[in-house]
Assembly symmetry: C2
Amino acid sequence: MTGAALIILSTGFFMNQSNAETLAIAVHGGAGTIERGQMTEEREAAIREALADAVRQGRKVLEAGGSSMDAVTRAVIRLEEAPEFNAGRGSVLTNEGTVEMDASIMDGSNLQAGAVAAIKGVRNPVKAARLVLEESPHVMLVGEGAGTFSRDHDLEFMDEEWFITDFRRQQLESIQAEDQAATQLSENWFSTVGAVALDADGNLAAATSTGGMSNKRWGRVGDSPIVGAGTYADNRSCAVSATGHGEFFIRHVVAYDICARMRHAGQSLDEASDELINQVLVEAGGTGGVIAVDGQGNIAQPFNTAGMYRAAMGADGKLTVEIYRDESDEDENSD
Amino acid sequence: MTGAALIILSTGFFMNQSNAETLAIAVHGGAGTIERGQMTEEREAAIREALADAVRQGRKVLEAGGSSMDAVTRAVIRLEEAPEFNAGRGSVLTNEGTVEMDASIMDGSNLQAGAVAAIKGVRNPVKAARLVLEESPHVMLVGEGAGTFSRDHDLEFMDEEWFITDFRRQQLESIQAEDQAATQLSENWFSTVGAVALDADGNLAAATSTGGMSNKRWGRVGDSPIVGAGTYADNRSCAVSATGHGEFFIRHVVAYDICARMRHAGQSLDEASDELINQVLVEAGGTGGVIAVDGQGNIAQPFNTAGMYRAAMGADGKLTVEIYRDESDEDENSD
């Protein structure tokens, strides 16, 4: 670590010491039908480590006085790089065997937002979404145009082969061979990634990134790049990142409605997010979950599926990494 | 008119006679900086006639017992076909001189929704959006994939030349020649089209269609195809179609927030839509307006610009067609 970096860290630490107890970050890596024993121990360990590391990296940004925008960007990049999740490297394949990714990010301090949909080849779609926010007057860019914009701004691109794992290739082959088990597994597991954070200045941010649906065609876009559906952040209420059956999250404007219930109906973060996921979506038949954080650092992680890959670190600095529904006392301490 | 059609109309009339007083439909054709005398009399007359006819055609569907979904589809098709508006034929041109269109539609009775973005060549984008709703498990399709889906389902396609008017070609040339007046005019006028309706069964629907921003690039998508931002319909609150500076409508989830304020905060349609357009968006610097209808047939058409192309027919069967802010007593009777 250089002297310059040390100084920045120290400055951050002193600047924000008074608010340090309200730092909060949470991440998810998908939700769906998952029971103990379905995964190898190695795979489960890799998933838990990636989730934990995403939280730790985001938390480090926050502890250094960094913004919630930087923290969620850092955490989502970590999960995009991990081949275990359906985002960036490891994304599911389209009907044509290609990778088309969606991502969005929102800054709760000013409601600025950026999103890309059906983008190809960009190493970290969350960086492309943030670039749209920072370097264009627009919120959403789609398809080849989003790629051109990202290239023009020197984002890193990778060959398609870099994104494609053996697991995803086999998954697509099984689905296209009409293997019912593979199809069902793919339809019951939505492994989008996302992060929400509260920084020492009291600013909220949220980001979401995904490869979308296995075997998707026709340029299908789910909720992940839709501001209001898959991602929303507003300092006056909360920051939300969703994972689940995207069509239901779009129709019910899930991420924004959690914020709207807090602002318009005076609900708490827990009440609003629980009502959306465990009542509204359950009645509609929509499966999935959200991670959410409010301005007081409260964290909610409701889901209506058997499991959701999730990790969080709140005011107490204690790291939790969970997959199954019945995990609640298996917390591990932070590093 | 054939005998069969007459029977259907009659059946509809008798079936719905008891609810006939609650039929309502409204349309818009854009909002922005427009003062009396900026347009030729011929152009203004053509715009007023198209708006009036869109309402009349939608109203006929409703009077025949047709659904609000059919009424808004019919009204939007009428405006897409009119070369005066920025949707379908007459759409603005992209930076490359091409036409890329966006549309969405939502059924308030079941929250089903369909949307297409950055689609090329389809004669009526609102039909493509409705096809996504009815014939796919998805809500949103973008780019070439949306076109493939529409072709596979036998929607009508037209050569690009059919969409492009001399007016739009000259507009693009002026903007690209950095003609300040043309650029400013284009930046201050958002001529998306849309419709909202309440049918005799008490069902609400909304639809929106646009060519987007003049000289747009990078696959830019505004609020029109975004469920929650440019379009929303929910029988429990209202149906909304927006027109304006799309990025602001996305960040503030305008269409859905009007519905959310009615459901979560108990506001009336007038209060909710006025607060969004004339407070929230004005404070944020976002220009535009909405048309909205609630389950009682109340119609709201707030806008924060000098003018909005709008027409409506509510419970009293009286047609209003307005452009400027100071028009309120210039109503004309329905046919």
